[in-house]
Protein backbone atom coordinates (compact mmCIF):
# COMPACT_ATOMS: atom_id res chain seq x y z
CA UNK A 1 0.00 0.00 0.00
CA UNK A 2 2.81 2.38 0.87
CA UNK A 3 4.65 1.76 -2.36
CA UNK A 4 1.47 2.32 -4.32
CA UNK A 5 0.84 5.56 -2.48
CA UNK A 6 4.41 6.66 -2.97
CA UNK A 7 4.14 6.02 -6.68
CA UNK A 8 0.86 7.83 -6.88
CA UNK A 9 2.24 10.77 -4.98
CA UNK A 10 5.40 10.71 -7.08
CA UNK A 11 3.32 10.91 -10.23
CA UNK A 12 1.18 13.75 -9.00
CA UNK A 13 4.27 15.60 -7.77
CA UNK A 14 5.76 15.12 -11.21
CA UNK A 15 2.56 16.38 -12.80
CA UNK A 16 2.79 19.47 -10.62
CA UNK A 17 6.42 20.00 -11.49
CA UNK A 18 5.79 19.95 -15.23
CA UNK A 19 2.78 22.26 -15.09
CA UNK A 20 4.40 25.65 -15.45
CA UNK A 21 1.24 27.79 -15.75
CA UNK A 22 0.36 27.86 -12.04
CA UNK A 23 2.50 29.20 -9.27
CA UNK A 24 2.36 26.35 -6.74
CA UNK A 25 3.13 27.44 -3.23
CA UNK A 26 5.09 24.53 -1.78
CA UNK A 27 5.76 24.39 1.93
CA UNK A 28 7.93 21.92 3.84
CA UNK A 29 7.73 21.34 7.56
CA UNK A 30 9.38 18.69 9.61
CA UNK A 31 9.68 17.30 13.09
CA UNK A 32 11.90 14.88 14.87
CA UNK A 33 12.09 13.25 18.27
CA UNK A 34 15.14 11.59 19.75
CA UNK A 35 14.55 9.58 22.89
CA UNK A 36 16.94 7.80 25.17
CA UNK A 37 15.74 5.80 28.13
CA UNK A 38 16.29 2.89 30.43
CA UNK A 39 14.32 0.84 32.92
CA UNK A 40 15.47 0.98 36.50
CA UNK A 41 14.83 -2.73 37.08
CA UNK A 42 13.81 -5.32 34.47
CA UNK A 43 12.54 -7.78 37.13
CA UNK A 44 9.30 -5.87 36.85
CA UNK A 45 8.68 -6.98 33.27
CA UNK A 46 6.40 -9.66 31.88
CA UNK A 47 7.25 -12.26 29.29
CA UNK A 48 5.11 -12.57 26.18
CA UNK A 49 3.61 -16.01 25.34
CA UNK A 50 6.68 -16.71 23.18
CA UNK A 51 8.89 -16.29 26.22
CA UNK A 52 10.48 -12.98 25.23
CA UNK A 53 10.85 -10.26 27.80
CA UNK A 54 8.41 -7.47 27.04
CA UNK A 55 9.35 -3.80 27.33
CA UNK A 56 7.94 -0.92 29.37
CA UNK A 57 6.97 1.96 27.07
CA UNK A 58 9.60 0.71 24.62
CA UNK A 59 12.38 0.58 27.24
CA UNK A 60 14.23 -2.30 28.85
CA UNK A 61 17.21 -2.55 31.21
CA UNK A 62 19.66 -1.52 28.48
CA UNK A 63 20.08 2.11 27.47
CA UNK A 64 17.80 2.36 24.45
CA UNK A 65 18.44 5.07 21.88
CA UNK A 66 16.26 3.99 19.07
CA UNK A 67 12.80 2.57 19.47
CA UNK A 68 10.99 5.82 20.23
CA UNK A 69 12.80 7.97 17.67
CA UNK A 70 10.78 9.67 14.95
CA UNK A 71 11.77 11.75 11.94
CA UNK A 72 9.21 13.19 9.55
CA UNK A 73 8.83 15.62 6.68
CA UNK A 74 5.56 17.13 5.61
CA UNK A 75 5.02 18.74 2.23
CA UNK A 76 2.02 20.89 1.47
CA UNK A 77 1.32 22.19 -2.01
CA UNK A 78 -1.12 25.09 -2.12
CA UNK A 79 -2.70 24.86 -5.54
CA UNK A 80 -4.75 28.01 -5.13
CA UNK A 81 -8.55 28.50 -5.02
CA UNK A 82 -8.70 26.60 -1.73
CA UNK A 83 -7.17 23.37 -3.05
CA UNK A 84 -4.13 21.85 -1.38
CA UNK A 85 -2.25 18.56 -1.31
CA UNK A 86 -0.47 17.35 1.83
CA UNK A 87 1.83 14.39 2.34
CA UNK A 88 3.76 13.35 5.40
CA UNK A 89 6.60 10.87 5.29
CA UNK A 90 7.72 9.42 8.57
CA UNK A 91 10.57 7.16 9.66
CA UNK A 92 10.37 5.56 13.10
CA UNK A 93 13.17 3.92 15.03
CA UNK A 94 10.86 1.08 15.99
CA UNK A 95 10.48 0.26 12.25
CA UNK A 96 14.25 0.53 11.62
CA UNK A 97 13.68 3.96 10.03
CA UNK A 98 11.75 2.44 7.16
CA UNK A 99 10.19 5.64 5.79
CA UNK A 100 6.44 5.43 5.14
CA UNK A 101 3.71 7.77 4.04
CA UNK A 102 1.79 8.38 7.24
CA UNK A 103 -0.66 10.47 5.33
CA UNK A 104 -1.33 11.85 1.87
CA UNK A 105 -4.51 13.74 1.11
CA UNK A 106 -6.14 16.45 -0.93
CA UNK A 107 -8.06 19.23 0.81
CA UNK A 108 -10.56 21.61 -0.62
CA UNK A 109 -11.83 24.65 1.24
CA UNK A 110 -15.44 24.92 0.06
CA UNK A 111 -16.07 28.01 2.19
CA UNK A 112 -14.07 29.56 5.03
CA UNK A 113 -16.16 27.32 7.33
CA UNK A 114 -16.18 24.02 5.41
CA UNK A 115 -13.16 21.97 4.34
CA UNK A 116 -13.31 18.52 2.79
CA UNK A 117 -10.34 16.17 2.50
CA UNK A 118 -9.80 12.87 0.75
CA UNK A 119 -6.93 10.45 1.04
CA UNK A 120 -4.99 8.77 3.80
CA UNK A 121 -5.09 10.62 7.10
CA UNK A 122 -4.83 10.30 10.85
CA UNK A 123 -7.94 9.12 12.71
CA UNK A 124 -8.67 11.79 15.35
CA UNK A 125 -9.63 9.45 18.20
CA UNK A 126 -7.84 11.41 20.88
CA UNK A 127 -7.16 14.96 21.92
CA UNK A 128 -3.54 14.62 20.79
CA UNK A 129 -4.17 12.12 17.94
CA UNK A 130 -3.42 14.37 15.05
CA UNK A 131 -0.08 15.50 16.45
CA UNK A 132 0.64 12.13 18.08
CA UNK A 133 4.14 11.90 16.66
CA UNK A 134 5.02 15.58 17.09
CA UNK A 135 6.66 15.47 20.49
CA UNK A 136 7.25 19.22 20.40
CA UNK A 137 3.49 19.89 20.46
CA UNK A 138 2.78 18.34 23.87
CA UNK A 139 4.36 18.48 27.32
CA UNK A 140 5.17 14.79 27.98
CA UNK A 141 7.62 12.52 26.11
CA UNK A 142 4.72 10.39 24.81
CA UNK A 143 0.96 10.76 25.37
CA UNK A 144 -0.47 8.53 28.14
CA UNK A 145 0.32 5.02 26.92
CA UNK A 146 -2.72 2.98 27.94
CA UNK A 147 -5.30 5.55 26.92
CA UNK A 148 -3.62 6.19 23.57
CA UNK A 149 -3.18 2.50 22.73
CA UNK A 150 -5.57 1.90 19.85
CA UNK A 151 -3.72 -1.16 18.59
CA UNK A 152 -2.06 0.40 15.57
CA UNK A 153 -5.17 1.66 13.79
CA UNK A 154 -3.87 5.21 13.56
CA UNK A 155 -4.51 6.10 9.94
CA UNK A 156 -7.37 5.61 7.52
CA UNK A 157 -8.15 6.05 3.84
CA UNK A 158 -11.31 7.98 3.43
CA UNK A 159 -13.22 11.22 3.29
CA UNK A 160 -13.25 13.91 5.94
CA UNK A 161 -15.39 17.01 6.31
CA UNK A 162 -14.54 19.74 8.82
CA UNK A 163 -16.86 22.52 9.82
CA UNK A 164 -15.40 25.37 11.84
CA UNK A 165 -17.73 28.09 12.98
CA UNK A 166 -18.29 30.68 15.69
CA UNK A 167 -21.01 30.03 18.25
CA UNK A 168 -21.20 33.24 20.26
CA UNK A 169 -17.74 33.66 21.73
CA UNK A 170 -16.92 29.98 21.21
CA UNK A 171 -15.19 28.41 18.24
CA UNK A 172 -16.86 25.16 17.26
CA UNK A 173 -15.11 22.54 15.15
CA UNK A 174 -16.97 19.48 13.90
CA UNK A 175 -15.10 16.67 12.16
CA UNK A 176 -16.84 13.91 10.22
CA UNK A 177 -14.83 11.04 8.82
CA UNK A 178 -15.67 7.90 6.88
CA UNK A 179 -13.26 5.33 5.55
CA UNK A 180 -11.45 2.05 5.85
CA UNK A 181 -7.97 0.74 6.44
CA UNK A 182 -6.08 -2.50 5.79
CA UNK A 183 -2.97 -3.04 7.80
CA UNK A 184 -0.77 -5.55 9.54
CA UNK A 185 -0.67 -5.64 13.31
CA UNK A 186 1.69 -7.08 15.88
CA UNK A 187 -0.36 -8.50 18.74
CA UNK A 188 1.70 -9.38 21.79
CA UNK A 189 -0.19 -12.65 22.41
CA UNK A 190 0.62 -13.95 18.92
CA UNK A 191 4.00 -14.88 17.41
CA UNK A 192 3.58 -13.24 13.99
CA UNK A 193 1.94 -10.05 12.74
CA UNK A 194 -1.64 -10.59 11.57
CA UNK A 195 -3.72 -8.98 8.84
CA UNK A 196 -6.18 -6.44 10.15
CA UNK A 197 -8.97 -4.49 8.59
CA UNK A 198 -11.17 -1.67 9.75
CA UNK A 199 -14.08 -1.04 7.44
CA UNK A 200 -17.22 1.06 7.38
CA UNK A 201 -15.71 3.43 9.86
CA UNK A 202 -17.75 6.47 10.75
CA UNK A 203 -16.48 9.11 13.15
CA UNK A 204 -17.92 12.29 14.57
CA UNK A 205 -15.81 14.61 16.72
CA UNK A 206 -16.88 17.96 18.09
CA UNK A 207 -14.65 20.42 19.87
CA UNK A 208 -15.63 23.73 21.42
CA UNK A 209 -13.02 26.31 22.32
CA UNK A 210 -13.46 29.48 24.33
CA UNK A 211 -10.32 31.45 25.01
CA UNK A 212 -8.12 29.08 27.04
CA UNK A 213 -10.76 26.36 27.48
CA UNK A 214 -11.41 23.49 25.07
CA UNK A 215 -13.82 20.59 25.39
CA UNK A 216 -13.90 17.77 22.86
CA UNK A 217 -16.14 14.75 22.40
CA UNK A 218 -15.87 11.92 19.91
CA UNK A 219 -17.82 8.87 18.81
CA UNK A 220 -16.62 6.34 16.26
CA UNK A 221 -17.78 2.95 15.09
CA UNK A 222 -16.31 0.48 12.65
CA UNK A 223 -16.28 -3.15 11.62
CA UNK A 224 -13.12 -4.90 12.71
CA UNK A 225 -11.52 -8.00 11.23
CA UNK A 226 -8.33 -9.60 12.51
CA UNK A 227 -6.62 -12.61 10.95
CA UNK A 228 -6.45 -14.44 14.28
CA UNK A 229 -8.79 -17.41 13.77
CA UNK A 230 -6.03 -19.81 12.66
CA UNK A 231 -3.90 -18.87 15.65
CA UNK A 232 -6.76 -19.15 18.09
CA UNK A 233 -7.71 -22.55 16.73
CA UNK A 234 -4.10 -23.73 16.97
CA UNK A 235 -2.96 -22.16 20.25
CA UNK A 236 -6.42 -22.02 21.83
CA UNK A 237 -9.17 -24.46 21.02
CA UNK A 238 -7.27 -27.30 19.36
CA UNK A 239 -4.47 -27.11 21.91
CA UNK A 240 -6.95 -27.36 24.78
CA UNK A 241 -8.67 -30.33 23.15
CA UNK A 242 -5.34 -32.08 22.48
CA UNK A 243 -4.08 -31.49 26.00
CA UNK A 244 -7.26 -32.88 27.53
CA UNK A 245 -7.06 -35.94 25.30
CA UNK A 246 -3.38 -36.63 25.95
CA UNK A 247 -3.94 -36.29 29.70
CA UNK A 248 -6.89 -38.70 29.56
CA UNK A 249 -5.17 -41.29 27.38
CA UNK A 250 -2.03 -40.90 29.54
CA UNK A 251 -3.95 -42.24 32.54
CA UNK A 252 -5.66 -44.95 30.49
CA UNK A 253 -9.00 -43.24 29.90
CA UNK A 254 -10.68 -42.80 26.51
CA UNK A 255 -10.05 -39.52 24.64
CA UNK A 256 -12.84 -36.93 24.79
CA UNK A 257 -12.46 -35.42 21.30
CA UNK A 258 -13.69 -32.03 22.48
CA UNK A 259 -14.72 -29.87 19.55
CA UNK A 260 -16.19 -26.37 19.59
CA UNK A 261 -18.66 -25.20 16.99
CA UNK A 262 -17.62 -22.43 14.61
CA UNK A 263 -20.36 -20.31 16.07
CA UNK A 264 -18.88 -20.54 19.57
CA UNK A 265 -15.30 -20.09 18.33
CA UNK A 266 -16.42 -16.95 16.59
CA UNK A 267 -16.86 -15.37 20.01
CA UNK A 268 -13.08 -15.10 20.23
CA UNK A 269 -12.47 -14.00 16.62
CA UNK A 270 -12.81 -10.61 15.03
CA UNK A 271 -14.64 -11.18 11.80
CA UNK A 272 -16.31 -8.02 10.55
CA UNK A 273 -17.49 -7.38 14.10
CA UNK A 274 -18.71 -4.02 15.31
CA UNK A 275 -16.39 -1.94 17.47
CA UNK A 276 -17.23 1.36 19.13
CA UNK A 277 -15.11 4.15 20.55
CA UNK A 278 -16.11 7.12 22.70
CA UNK A 279 -14.02 9.82 24.24
CA UNK A 280 -14.18 13.15 25.99
CA UNK A 281 -11.38 15.60 26.72
CA UNK A 282 -11.04 18.90 28.59
CA UNK A 283 -8.11 21.25 28.27
CA UNK A 284 -7.55 24.50 30.13
CA UNK A 285 -4.44 26.39 29.14
CA UNK A 286 -4.38 30.04 30.17
CA UNK A 287 -0.57 30.17 29.70
CA UNK A 288 1.08 30.10 33.14
CA UNK A 289 -0.25 26.57 33.69
CA UNK A 290 -2.30 23.93 31.90
CA UNK A 291 -4.55 20.99 32.75
CA UNK A 292 -5.77 18.24 30.43
CA UNK A 293 -8.21 15.48 31.33
CA UNK A 294 -9.20 12.84 28.82
CA UNK A 295 -11.24 9.69 29.10
CA UNK A 296 -11.91 7.07 26.43
CA UNK A 297 -13.75 3.78 26.01
CA UNK A 298 -13.03 1.17 23.34
CA UNK A 299 -15.78 -1.45 23.15
CA UNK A 300 -14.90 -4.34 20.87
CA UNK A 301 -18.10 -6.25 21.77
CA UNK A 302 -16.62 -9.52 20.56
CA UNK A 303 -13.27 -11.30 20.41
CA UNK A 304 -10.54 -12.39 22.80
CA UNK A 305 -9.12 -8.98 23.66
CA UNK A 306 -10.01 -6.35 26.24
CA UNK A 307 -13.72 -5.76 26.19
CA UNK A 308 -14.37 -2.95 26.86
CA UNK A 309 -11.22 -1.01 27.63
CA UNK A 310 -11.23 2.35 29.36
CA UNK A 311 -8.46 4.85 29.87
CA UNK A 312 -8.47 8.12 31.79
CA UNK A 313 -5.67 10.50 32.57
CA UNK A 314 -4.99 13.88 34.09
CA UNK A 315 -1.97 15.87 32.98
CA UNK A 316 -0.97 19.24 34.41
CA UNK A 317 2.03 21.51 34.35
CA UNK A 318 3.30 24.95 35.26
CA UNK A 319 5.23 27.15 32.82
CA UNK A 320 8.09 28.91 34.59
CA UNK A 321 9.64 30.74 31.67
CA UNK A 322 11.41 28.13 29.58
CA UNK A 323 11.03 25.42 32.22
CA UNK A 324 7.77 23.46 32.44
CA UNK A 325 7.45 20.85 35.21
CA UNK A 326 4.54 18.46 34.60
CA UNK A 327 2.97 15.27 35.85
CA UNK A 328 0.45 12.72 34.61
CA UNK A 329 -1.79 10.26 36.43
CA UNK A 330 -3.43 7.56 34.34
CA UNK A 331 -5.82 4.72 35.05
CA UNK A 332 -6.63 1.98 32.52
CA UNK A 333 -8.96 -0.96 32.92
CA UNK A 334 -10.32 -3.62 30.66
CA UNK A 335 -12.69 -6.47 31.27
CA UNK A 336 -12.69 -9.78 29.43
CA UNK A 337 -15.31 -11.07 26.99
CA UNK A 338 -17.32 -13.12 29.46
CA UNK A 339 -20.12 -13.66 26.94
CA UNK A 340 -17.73 -15.29 24.46
CA UNK A 341 -16.26 -17.46 27.22
CA UNK A 342 -19.69 -18.63 28.41
CA UNK A 343 -20.76 -19.46 24.86
CA UNK A 344 -17.81 -21.84 24.53
CA UNK A 345 -18.33 -23.35 27.99
CA UNK A 346 -21.97 -24.03 27.09
CA UNK A 347 -20.66 -26.57 24.60
CA UNK A 348 -18.79 -28.49 27.30
CA UNK A 349 -21.35 -30.90 28.71
CA UNK A 350 -20.59 -31.00 32.43
CA UNK A 351 -23.22 -33.63 33.28
CA UNK A 352 -22.15 -35.71 30.27
CA UNK A 353 -18.52 -35.61 31.45
CA UNK A 354 -19.52 -36.76 34.92
CA UNK A 355 -21.58 -39.57 33.42
CA UNK A 356 -18.77 -40.67 31.10
CA UNK A 357 -15.76 -40.37 33.44
CA UNK A 358 -17.29 -40.38 36.91
CA UNK A 359 -17.99 -37.27 38.90
CA UNK A 360 -14.41 -36.68 40.16
CA UNK A 361 -12.61 -36.89 36.79
CA UNK A 362 -15.60 -35.27 35.03
CA UNK A 363 -15.32 -32.24 37.33
CA UNK A 364 -11.56 -32.06 36.80
CA UNK A 365 -11.94 -32.09 33.03
CA UNK A 366 -14.66 -29.47 33.17
CA UNK A 367 -12.68 -27.05 35.33
CA UNK A 368 -9.48 -27.73 33.35
CA UNK A 369 -11.17 -26.86 30.07
CA UNK A 370 -12.72 -23.79 31.70
CA UNK A 371 -9.33 -22.55 32.93
CA UNK A 372 -7.77 -23.16 29.51
CA UNK A 373 -10.53 -21.30 27.70
CA UNK A 374 -10.46 -18.43 30.14
CA UNK A 375 -6.78 -17.98 29.39
CA UNK A 376 -7.64 -17.33 25.75
CA UNK A 377 -9.76 -14.40 26.86
CA UNK A 378 -8.00 -12.92 29.86
CA UNK A 379 -4.51 -12.62 28.35
CA UNK A 380 -5.02 -8.92 27.72
CA UNK A 381 -7.08 -8.21 30.80
CA UNK A 382 -5.72 -5.03 32.23
CA UNK A 383 -5.86 -2.98 35.36
CA UNK A 384 -3.03 -0.51 35.50
CA UNK A 385 -2.27 2.81 37.15
CA UNK A 386 0.49 4.81 35.53
CA UNK A 387 2.31 7.92 36.67
CA UNK A 388 4.93 10.21 35.26
CA UNK A 389 6.68 13.31 36.44
CA UNK A 390 8.96 15.34 34.25
CA UNK A 391 10.27 18.65 33.10
CA UNK A 392 10.29 20.27 29.70
CA UNK A 393 12.99 22.81 28.90
CA UNK A 394 12.45 25.00 25.84
CA UNK A 395 16.14 25.63 25.24
CA UNK A 396 15.56 26.91 21.70
CA UNK A 397 12.56 28.39 19.80
CA UNK A 398 12.37 25.18 17.71
CA UNK A 399 13.54 22.57 20.16
CA UNK A 400 12.61 21.23 23.57
CA UNK A 401 14.42 18.92 25.96
CA UNK A 402 12.37 16.67 28.25
CA UNK A 403 13.39 14.54 31.18
CA UNK A 404 10.78 12.17 32.60
CA UNK A 405 10.41 9.50 35.25
CA UNK A 406 7.64 7.02 34.46
CA UNK A 407 6.21 4.18 36.45
CA UNK A 408 3.15 1.96 36.49
CA UNK A 409 1.39 -0.39 38.84
CA UNK A 410 0.00 -3.38 36.97
CA UNK A 411 -2.55 -5.07 39.23
CA UNK A 412 -2.97 -8.17 37.05
CA UNK A 413 0.65 -9.22 37.39
CA UNK A 414 1.59 -7.23 40.48
CA UNK A 415 4.39 -5.54 38.58
CA UNK A 416 5.74 -2.00 39.03
CA UNK A 417 8.07 -1.17 36.16
CA UNK A 418 9.96 2.13 36.28
CA UNK A 419 11.97 3.98 33.65
CA UNK A 420 13.82 7.22 33.14
CA UNK A 421 13.83 8.81 29.71
CA UNK A 422 15.06 11.98 28.07
CA UNK A 423 14.07 13.37 24.70
CA UNK A 424 14.88 16.18 22.34
CA UNK A 425 11.95 17.26 20.17
CA UNK A 426 12.53 19.60 17.26
CA UNK A 427 10.36 21.12 14.57
CA UNK A 428 11.71 22.78 11.47
Amino acid sequence: MNVKLATRFGLSALALAITPAHAVDLRFDGFATFVVGQMLDDDELNHDPQGNLMTFRGFDDQINFQSNNVFAIQARADLGEGLSATAQIMAKGVDDYDAKFSWAYLSYELTPEWTISAGQMRIPYFYYSESLDVGYSYPFIRPPFNTYDIGGFDNISGLKAEWQTDVGNWVSRVTMLAGRTDTTLKISQLPDPVKAQVSRMGLLAWSMNYDAFTVRGIYARANLSLGVSDYLDAIGFDRISNEVDSTLTGIGLPALGLNFSNDARHGAYYDNDAAEFYGIAFNYDPGPYFVTIESTVLDLQNGFMQNPGTGTYLNAGVRLGKITPYFTIERAESDYNEKGYRRLMAEVNHAGLQAQYGSLVGDLIYSGVGAGLKQVFVSSLKEENAYNIGVRYDFHPSAAFKLEYMTAKNHNYDLSPQAIAASVDVIF
Binding site: R27, D29, F31, Q74, R76, D78, T86, Q88, Y105, S107, P112, E113, S117, M121, R122, E130, S131, D133, V134, Y136, S137, Y138, E162, Q164, D166, V171, N209, G287, R319, K322, D394, H396, P397, S398, A399, A400, V426, I427, F428
Partner: protein
Protein backbone atom coordinates in the same frame (compact mmCIF):
# COMPACT_ATOMS: atom_id res chain seq x y z
CA UNK B 1 16.91 25.66 7.00
CA UNK B 2 19.72 27.10 9.01
CA UNK B 3 21.39 25.00 11.61
CA UNK B 4 19.78 25.05 15.02
CA UNK B 5 22.83 26.61 16.57
CA UNK B 6 23.07 29.62 14.29
CA UNK B 7 19.33 30.17 14.76
CA UNK B 8 19.87 29.92 18.49
CA UNK B 9 22.57 32.59 18.41
CA UNK B 10 20.39 34.88 16.31
CA UNK B 11 17.41 34.34 18.56
CA UNK B 12 19.31 35.07 21.75
CA UNK B 13 20.87 38.20 20.27
CA UNK B 14 17.44 39.35 19.15
CA UNK B 15 16.07 38.61 22.59
CA UNK B 16 18.68 40.84 24.22
CA UNK B 17 17.92 43.69 21.84
CA UNK B 18 14.19 43.21 22.29
CA UNK B 19 14.39 43.33 26.05
CA UNK B 20 15.84 46.85 25.79
CA UNK B 21 13.43 48.04 23.12
CA UNK B 22 9.91 47.24 24.45
CA UNK B 23 8.24 49.35 21.78
CA UNK B 24 4.59 49.94 21.01
CA UNK B 25 3.00 47.67 18.39
CA UNK B 26 0.40 48.65 15.81
CA UNK B 27 -1.92 46.15 14.14
CA UNK B 28 -2.60 47.30 10.60
CA UNK B 29 -4.95 46.44 7.73
CA UNK B 30 -5.50 47.71 4.20
CA UNK B 31 -7.14 51.17 3.82
CA UNK B 32 -10.06 49.48 2.03
CA UNK B 33 -10.74 47.25 5.04
CA UNK B 34 -13.26 49.02 7.28
CA UNK B 35 -13.94 46.03 9.58
CA UNK B 36 -14.14 46.79 13.26
CA UNK B 37 -11.38 44.50 14.59
CA UNK B 38 -10.99 43.91 18.33
CA UNK B 39 -8.01 42.50 20.23
CA UNK B 40 -9.94 39.22 20.51
CA UNK B 41 -10.36 39.15 16.74
CA UNK B 42 -6.61 39.64 16.27
CA UNK B 43 -5.94 36.76 18.70
CA UNK B 44 -8.35 34.52 16.82
CA UNK B 45 -6.81 35.43 13.47
CA UNK B 46 -3.27 34.63 14.59
CA UNK B 47 -4.36 31.41 16.32
CA UNK B 48 -6.23 30.23 13.19
CA UNK B 49 -9.55 30.26 15.00
CA UNK B 50 -11.16 32.33 12.28
CA UNK B 51 -10.60 32.67 8.56
CA UNK B 52 -12.72 35.76 7.85
CA UNK B 53 -12.74 39.36 9.11
CA UNK B 54 -15.66 40.32 11.41
CA UNK B 55 -17.30 42.13 8.51
CA UNK B 56 -16.67 39.19 6.16
CA UNK B 57 -13.82 38.87 3.71
CA UNK B 58 -10.91 36.48 3.54
CA UNK B 59 -7.86 37.01 5.77
CA UNK B 60 -4.23 36.96 4.72
CA UNK B 61 -2.34 37.23 8.01
CA UNK B 62 1.28 38.36 7.95
CA UNK B 63 3.87 37.39 10.51
CA UNK B 64 7.40 38.57 11.22
CA UNK B 65 10.59 36.63 11.75
CA UNK B 66 10.87 34.72 15.01
CA UNK B 67 12.91 36.66 17.51
CA UNK B 68 12.28 40.02 15.76
CA UNK B 69 11.41 42.70 18.33
CA UNK B 70 7.91 43.55 16.99
CA UNK B 71 6.99 39.88 16.89
CA UNK B 72 8.06 39.21 20.46
CA UNK B 73 6.03 42.22 21.60
CA UNK B 74 3.03 41.16 19.53
CA UNK B 75 3.07 37.55 20.72
CA UNK B 76 3.40 38.49 24.39
CA UNK B 77 1.05 41.52 24.48
CA UNK B 78 -1.71 40.45 22.11
CA UNK B 79 -1.56 36.67 21.79
CA UNK B 80 -0.53 36.43 25.46
CA UNK B 81 1.88 33.56 24.84
CA UNK B 82 5.64 33.39 24.42
CA UNK B 83 7.27 32.38 21.16
CA UNK B 84 7.85 28.76 22.23
CA UNK B 85 4.19 28.35 23.23
CA UNK B 86 3.15 29.93 19.95
CA UNK B 87 5.39 27.49 18.11
CA UNK B 88 4.00 24.47 19.99
CA UNK B 89 0.47 25.70 19.28
CA UNK B 90 1.18 26.09 15.59
CA UNK B 91 3.00 22.78 15.36
CA UNK B 92 -0.30 21.12 16.26
CA UNK B 93 -2.12 23.00 13.52
CA UNK B 94 0.51 22.52 10.83
CA UNK B 95 0.99 18.81 11.34
CA UNK B 96 -2.73 18.14 11.56
CA UNK B 97 -3.42 20.06 8.36
CA UNK B 98 -5.72 22.39 10.30
CA UNK B 99 -3.83 25.54 9.43
CA UNK B 100 -1.04 27.13 7.50
CA UNK B 101 0.97 29.64 9.51
CA UNK B 102 0.87 33.33 8.54
CA UNK B 103 3.39 34.32 5.90
CA UNK B 104 6.64 35.55 7.43
CA UNK B 105 7.83 39.00 6.31
CA UNK B 106 11.40 40.14 6.81
CA UNK B 107 10.78 43.63 8.24
CA UNK B 108 8.23 46.24 9.36
CA UNK B 109 8.61 47.97 5.99
CA UNK B 110 7.76 44.77 4.13
CA UNK B 111 4.65 44.25 6.27
CA UNK B 112 3.46 47.82 5.64
CA UNK B 113 4.03 47.44 1.92
CA UNK B 114 2.23 44.06 1.75
CA UNK B 115 -0.73 45.35 3.78
CA UNK B 116 -0.97 48.48 1.63
CA UNK B 117 -1.18 46.40 -1.54
CA UNK B 118 -3.50 43.57 -0.39
CA UNK B 119 -7.07 44.30 0.74
CA UNK B 120 -7.20 40.97 2.67
CA UNK B 121 -3.97 41.50 4.59
CA UNK B 122 -3.45 42.10 8.29
CA UNK B 123 -0.09 42.60 9.97
CA UNK B 124 1.70 44.06 12.95
CA UNK B 125 4.61 46.50 13.05
CA UNK B 126 6.43 48.86 15.36
CA UNK B 127 4.31 52.00 15.69
CA UNK B 128 7.14 54.05 14.20
CA UNK B 129 6.89 52.13 10.90
CA UNK B 130 3.21 52.96 10.25
CA UNK B 131 2.54 55.10 7.16
CA UNK B 132 -0.64 56.71 5.77
CA UNK B 133 -0.95 53.85 3.25
CA UNK B 134 -2.39 51.51 5.93
CA UNK B 135 -5.16 51.67 8.55
CA UNK B 136 -4.25 51.12 12.20
CA UNK B 137 -6.87 48.98 14.01
CA UNK B 138 -5.16 49.09 17.38
CA UNK B 139 -2.01 50.05 19.25
CA UNK B 140 -0.69 47.90 22.06
Amino acid sequence: MKSIFSKFAVASAAWMIASFANAEIAVIVNLANQSNITTEDVQKIYLAKTKTFPGGGKIVALDQTEGAAPRMEFVSKIIKKDEAQMKAYWSRLIFTGKGVPPKVMASDAEVVEAVASNTSAIGFVDVGAVTDKVRVVGKF
